[in-house]
Symmetry: C2
Subunit: 201 residues, 2 copies
């Protein structure tokens, strides 16, 4: 079959991607510290040596799991920061962040609150900077401590809620409800149909 042939030709890449997917599942089920490379190998039915062929450590595998999400976050941030008004910046940050949270719903709630993961991301790179910029955009309509607390509630709330309410709503519906909740918290008017760009002229 075509799928079988495709599997054969892209065998190594395929195993790498399946390792990433299985690791993501196990991290979200058992936390990062509670997931060993052996557990990942067992779940996929390969040897630990096969895992080491692709990833030298559990940390390297975590990086491979988290990197695409951080990439999406960076893209959403940059798009939001390019907007002209406070309102449009907050609105874009909220919708971009919500979209990535829903897209990665099994992972986001867990990893965003896993102290081992946060510690590793902090030591490796720009997580602190990304979070600070997000909070700044969301709190821009109400700078100062109350606005920053609201922004923190929205970010943590959306990350946590995608996990807990994840099972019974489809992506589009969940995203819409989360954005509405976020707008209320932040005091953002709902834009007329994707009108935030027009409004800022």
């Amino acid at each position: 079959m075509a799928a079988q042939a495709a599997l054969k030709t892209s065998g190594a890449n395929d195993t790498r991607q399946r390792l990433i997917d299985v690791a993501a599942q196990l991290f979200s089920r058992h936390s990062f510290a509670g997931t060993s490379l052996q557990m990942i190998a067992d779940e996929l039915g390969v040897t630990k040596a096969a895992v080491y062929h692709h990833f030298r450590s559990r940390e390297e595998l975590l990086t491979a799991v988290v990197d695409p999400i951080l990439g999406q976050l960076r893209a959403a941030l940059e798009k939001a920061e390019a907007q002209r008004t406070s309102h449009a910046r907050a609105e874009h940050m909220l919708t971009g962040y919500t979209a990535l949270a829903v897209r990665n719903r099994t992972l986001v709630g867990v990893l965003a609150a896993d102290p081992t993961v946060i510690e590793m991301l902090r030591s490796q790179g720009d997580l602190e900077d990304l979070i600070t910029r997000q909070v700044a955009l969301l709190a821009d309509l109400d700078p100062g401590p109350p606005g920053r607390v609201k922004a923190a509630v929205v970010l943590a709330g959306i990350a946590g809620a995608v996990g807990s309410t994840g099972t019974d709503l489809d992506d589009d519906t969940l995203r819409q409800y989360l954005v509405e909740a976020g707008r209320r918290t932040l005091g953002l008017r709902a834009p007329r149909r994707s009108v935030s760009a027009r409004r800022s002229r």
Copy 2:
């Protein structure tokens, strides 16, 4: 000194409580799965045997850490459920939950999202029931999926925000900002000074 004498007379209880406190710190720093009994013993400068004298397993220690918080949650729930109007029930649930989250700020954000902890609490008891009742009270003004999503954002948002914004605000101020954020999300009017009881007559 008096403190020294007090330490001697209540030695066993004191060690037990210090074990609980140190475990709470380490769980929130390294996650539950990332904290061994040996790490807890080392941090307190006692032997592993001394830990086993008080707790037969890491799970038993986690239960001792979490039980007081679950007790506070149950009390807040019962107080909220005893109110007469939807508005007063949601308001009491919000303020009671926020107070316990701020009181336990190092722990709540981490444990509320630690999959190993949630799994253990679920298998042991009534966590599912507590969460369902909380969401029902908070979503009561707006039942149905959008209201439940808002309730989930508020619960996860407050739990997450107490950790991330925990360092620079005192308890009273943080509690006030969080309750204001929660009220906005849920669409609750701010009560006149503790007037929710009066209003429900």
